[in-house]
């Protein structure tokens, strides 16, 4: 109960601080409107949550294959449903940020844009597979297998893409990510940023928990109606 209150006030505090404190980007180094960088307080946590959701679904997929318990399949599916929503939001906010700072909505030589796009493709593939199989048992097994394969492929991409795109990226570099990709943030910025990360994660787990309970309830209801 109390953690919901924490989520409420925490997220509210993040929102207030994100807009009332100084912009995370120094005016001298920024490209475009310096205030546009405030979106990073929200965009990065969204992308993080989308990846976290996918990781969770992979873990539940492994557990499903080991135990064949359908509850795990439901949990994996729910995680992916939420994950794709966050991924879409992250892609859109990222695209808006790109337009405001780098001048274009999309650019294939920008590794972060490519990464989130591939995450969307992975989610798309997962749901395409689920809708292509009618038998629930087969569907659960195949979804679990493809989740694991996708996760391993995604891990490869995380390590591949930076190396390849280090060569190709013509992007003017901001000062948030310097040459080696480290994030340089002032103290205030760091507090707000990590609080936002924590709040988004907590929010995700709350919504995830709710969704799983709803799925469980409706499954039980279906069973009872059949009796």
């Amino acid at each position: 109960m109390w953690w919901k209150i924490i989520i409420f006030f925490g997220m509210s505090a993040v929102i207030v601080a994100a807009f009332l404190t100084a912009s995370p980007m120094r005016a001298a180094d920024s490209l475009g409107a310096v205030d546009a960088y405030r979106i990073l307080y929200f965009h990065v946590p969204q992308a993080w949550v989308a990846s976290l959701a996918f990781l969770i679904s992979m873990i539940y997929s492994i557990r499903f294959l080991k135990t064949k318990n359908m509850e795990y399949d439901t949990k994996a599916l729910t995680a992916n449903k939420l994950g794709v929503m966050f991924a879409v939001v992250a892609t859109v906010t990222g695209s808006i940020f790109a337009k405001m700072t780098w001048g274009e909505f999309w650019n294939w030589s920008e590794i972060r844009e490519v990464s989130i796009f591939i995450l969307l493709l992975i989610y798309g593939g997962y749901f395409a597979l689920r809708s292509a199989v009618s038998d629930p048992d087969t569907r659960a097994n195949l979804s679990a297998v493809i989740s694991i394969i996708f996760a391993v492929a995604a891990l490869f991409l995380i390590f591949v893409l930076p190396r390849i795109y280090g060569l190709f990226s013509q992007h003017p570099s901001d000062s948030i990510l310097n040459e080696s990709g480290q994030i340089t943030m002032g103290a205030t910025v760091r507090i707000i940023f990590f609080s936002s990360l924590i709040m988004f994660t907590a929010l995700f787990f709350w919504v995830y928990n709710l969704s799983v309970r709803v799925a469980r309830l409706s499954a039980n209801l279906l069973l009872e109606n059949k009796k």
Binding site: A128, A132, S134, L142, I164
Partner: protein
């Protein structure tokens, strides 16, 4: 007559040989894959052949042709088993991993046959030839191993779906992306001429990808095969 113990290697090769023989009779897969690659190559040659595309672009196009040909030709690896009713016998007679490696070997042979036909035509139509044949052949070989290694299990997954359509391509692309990135890089270096040092990173990635994907697929294959 004493029962001889047959090694799993010869069992695997038996599965491959069975596929080769049945393929020889009907030539469905080999026709599909070669004609598709041929048509794609022709379209590309018509479209941009006269514009003297750069070696970088051509190395990417080379793998585009191979990728889409593989998408069209490898999807049916398990479908014809299910349709002709021989799947049950396969399941009863040998372990899942034998079927997996047998099919994978067959797919690899299919792709190698395709390459032997397409590479000379590619060189002739687009007026490009590898500066370093060792790098080129090594890259293509490793890439084809990864291609068949990663897509065999996906073909098995798709064979269980009720609505197949473009499912194979949708599922394969995110999985094959690391392979494509590395293979295109190696081919590019082989076209423009470079040292072994240039390709050491993508080559290591390719080898790692092949090993990990084949291992992962062979571990997960039974979960799909035994449904």
């Amino acid at each position: 007559m004493p029962i001889q113990s047959v090694s799993w290697v010869s069992k695997t090769l038996a599965v491959t040989r069975k596929d080769i023989v049945s393929e020889f009779r009907t030539r469905y897969a080999v026709n599909a894959i070669v004609m598709f690659a041929l048509v794609t190559l022709t379209v590309i040659s018509f479209a941009i052949g006269l514009l003297s595309p750069s070696k970088e672009i051509l190395s990417a196009l080379f793998w585009v042709i191979l990728f889409f040909a593989a998408m069209s030709g490898l999807a049916q690896a398990f479908i014809k088993e299910e349709e002709s009713g021989t799947a049950m016998i396969l399941r009863l007679s040998c372990a899942g991993s034998i079927v997996f490696f047998g099919k994978m070997l067959f797919n690899l042979l299919l792709l190698i046959t395709l390459s032997i036909l397409i590479v000379p035509l590619f060189i002739v139509f687009l007026k490009i030839s590898p500066a370093d044949w060792i790098i080129f052949t090594g890259g293509v070989l490793m890439g084809l191993i990864g291609l068949s290694g990663a897509t065999t299990i996906i073909a098995a997954i798709v064979s269980k779906a009720s609505v197949k359509g473009a499912l194979f391509t949708v599922l394969s692309f995110p999985v094959l992306l690391p392979l494509l990135v590395a293979a295109i890089e190696i081919t590019r270096v082989s076209f423009t001429g470079g040292s072994f040092a240039d390709i050491s990173a993508p080559f290591q990635l390719l080898v790692a990808y092949d090993v990990i994907m084949i291992t992962l697929s062979s571990m997960l294959f039974d979960f799909v095969w035994r449904l």
